[in-house]
């Protein structure tokens, strides 16, 4: 993979909900194999930023370019809607904070994983089933639960199923919005361990939005710190967390409870 050209480039991205400025003038680049963390307090515009760059919310201003396999760096909002939707379910993955938004609760776990395959034209049941089993194993879900519905799963299992469902089409870029939100710490630890392994193994690029600095430190190579819709500090994760420059980052780091 060519690591000199960015996979995703965001330039001067601004989004306003009426008079409310949710994110202002955000620019960054993401390179293949890189994991970028976006941290900041609630209401700082993290999720809006993620929605804008994952083609689910057209920004008020600014350009989001993605390195398409066929065309190279392309403005995603210049693509037609079906092309964008295809991108979202093939080359990209989106793991939402609430699994109810990312899973079909009334479709079995196997069907949830298989949906993307069928959406891109898979029509052989045994193959789809095999892939689903394979992915359930990779995210450490019990194969005996393949025909159970996700609404009967625990929160941690639902998140792992969401990850399997997104990774089945071998995306290059995954967007995660608070992937460990609402999980207890031991389940969080296992999920983070799994994510870290998958990201390395598959050479995934990822953008992870979180308010949990521990998650950011474990997963992210680089951090963006946001406050009031603006990027206040960027840099390598260890650098930002160990030697915060901006006053807000210093507050953020010092607010973490030391056990």
């Amino acid at each position: 993979m060519d690591t000199t050209s960015p996979l995703l480039r965001v330039r001067n991205l601004t989004h306003a909900f009426g008079p409310v400025l949710a994110c202002a003038d955000v620019s960054f680049e993401l390179y293949p194999g890189e994991v970028l963390g976006v941290v900041g307090e609630s209401g700082s515009g993290k999720t809006t930023l993620l929605n804008c760059i994952s083609a689910r919310l057209a920004p008020t201003n600014g350009i989001v370019e993605y390195d398409l396999r066929t065309k190279g760096l392309t403005d995603i909002y210049a693509l037609s809607e079906p092309e964008r939707r295809l991108l979202l379910r093939t080359d990209w993955g989106v793991v939402t904070q609430n699994p109810r938004d990312g899973l079909r609760m009334d479709v079995s776990a196997g069907g949830n994983v298989g949906e993307r395959l069928m959406a891109v034209g898979a029509r052989h049941y045994a193959t789809i089933r095999g892939e689903a089993e394979d992915w359930l194993q990779k995210v450490e879900l019990d194969l005996g639960r393949i025909d159970d519905k996700p609404k009967h799963f625990s929160g941690g299992m639902q998140q792992r199923l969401q990850i399997a469902r997104n990774l089945v089409t071998k995306p290059r870029l995954v967007f995660m919005d608070e992937p460990t939100g609402g999980l207890d710490v031991s389940v969080q630890a296992r999920l983070l361990d799994l994510l870290r392994g998958l990201v390395r193994e598959l050479r995934l690029s990822a953008i992870i939005v979180t308010h949990d600095l521990a998650v950011a430190r474990l997963l992210a190579d680089r951090l963006i710190v946001m406050k009031d819709g603006k990027v206040v500090e960027t840099g390598l994760t260890d650098q930002v967390l160990d030697d915060p420059h901006h006053a807000y980052t210093q507050l953020l780091v010092s607010s973490v409870l030391q056990v």
Partner: protein, 325 residues
């Protein structure tokens, strides 16, 4: 079909020909033309109140009312039968407000309005079959958002429909969907064939007659022009298959028709009879007989009444409970 503003019906003062006013009929005809031009696409139309409740065939009746003329002959069937409540009432309705002759013979009809079956007798060019549609959107139970459903149709994103078949196989080992079995029309639009049994799906493919679909409550019209490709969805390793029965029709001995199971007593006694009542009657008139014993045949004839007239049906013949339509 006439383009005049009103056409009085003899003896039914105040009613326009075929119940609907001429402007409404023109609106519906425009929708039908659009539907025929884009096979399988659901065209919204301004559905009118009809003198019977939603779910009883108001969509099909509006389509029929818009295309019927004085020289048409109408056949109405409900689950294949000409003598059930829904069929009898709709047939009598058009006999009164459109003064058209009605028939039970598929071959003699120019318009066949149907609920949940395609007749066993082959239909030909020049005939029109009008389906009553309870739920036109095949994706409805999988994707509740109407806006999203429309996008999925527009962009031909039909992976989700396949998921429902996947779920069947995962749970039961085979595709158990037996009615409303989803089809692709003209390699483009996913379409609900209405709750016809999947037994009838293959008949829709390359069908010589024009097929029109009207959904009254949902206010949608769609169509399949003659000789259009209609393919039932399936998996490569679980191909589409129609129902099979362990017995033949007990009355006429037909082997290749859609059969209704009729429970005879509380001891598990049952028999199978053709769901298409006209086809079965015709075969028996031709001398075909089934395995039903003489005494049982007599009891059956007594129960359903001897050869009921369309306008005056006897008590309904024993029939399995219907799903909502």
């Amino acid at each position: 079909m006439s383009a005049t503003r009103t056409q009085e019906v003899d003896g039914e003062a105040g009613y326009n020909f075929a119940y609907l006013d001429e402007q409404t009929k023109r609106m519906i005809r425009r929708c039908i033309l659009k539907a025929v031009a884009v096979p399988g696409y659901q065209v919204p139309f301004g559905g009118r109140e009809m003198p019977l409740p939603y779910g009883w065939g108001t969509g099909g009746m509006q389509v029929t009312a818009s295309i019927i003329g004085k020289d048409d002959t109408l056949k109405v069937i409900d689950q294949g039968a000409d003598d059930t409540t829904n069929a009898v009432n709709i047939r009598r309705f058009f006999a009164r407000v459109a003064e058209v002759p009605t028939t039970e013979a598929t071959a003699e009809a120019s318009i066949v309005q149907t609920r949940h079956r395609v007749p066993e007798d082959p239909m030909t060019e020049g005939q029109i079959i009008v389906y009553q549609v309870p739920q036109p959107e095949p994706l409805r139970y999988l994707e509740p958002r109407e806006t999203e459903c429309r996008k999925m149709h527009a962009y031909k994103e039909y992976g989700l429909m396949q998921v429902s078949l996947y779920e069947d196989i995962a749970r039961f080992g085979e595709i158990v969907t037996s009615y409303s079995y989803p089809v692709m029309v003209n390699d483009r639009y996913l379409m609900s064939p209405t709750p016809i049994p999947k037994f009838d799906n293959p008949k829709m493919d390359d069908f010589p007659a024009l097929q029109l679909f009207g959904a009254g409550r949902e206010k949608r019209i769609y169509a399949i022009p003659p000789y259009t490709k209609v393919k039932s969805l399936d998996f490569d390793d679980h191909p589409f298959a129609i129902q099979q029965w362990e017995e033949d029709c007990a009355l006429c001995g037909a082997e290749e028709t859609f059969l209704d199971e009729v429970i005879l007593d509380d001891q598990g006694g049952k028999m199978y009879v053709c769901s298409d009542s006209h086809y079965c009657t015709k075969r028996r008139a031709e001398g075909h007989t089934g395995t039903l014993s003489e005494s049982a045949a007599k009891a059956y004839a007594a129960a359903v009444g001897a050869a009921p007239e369309p306008a005056n049906p006897g008590p309904a013949k024993p029939e399995p409970a219907k799903e909502e339509a």
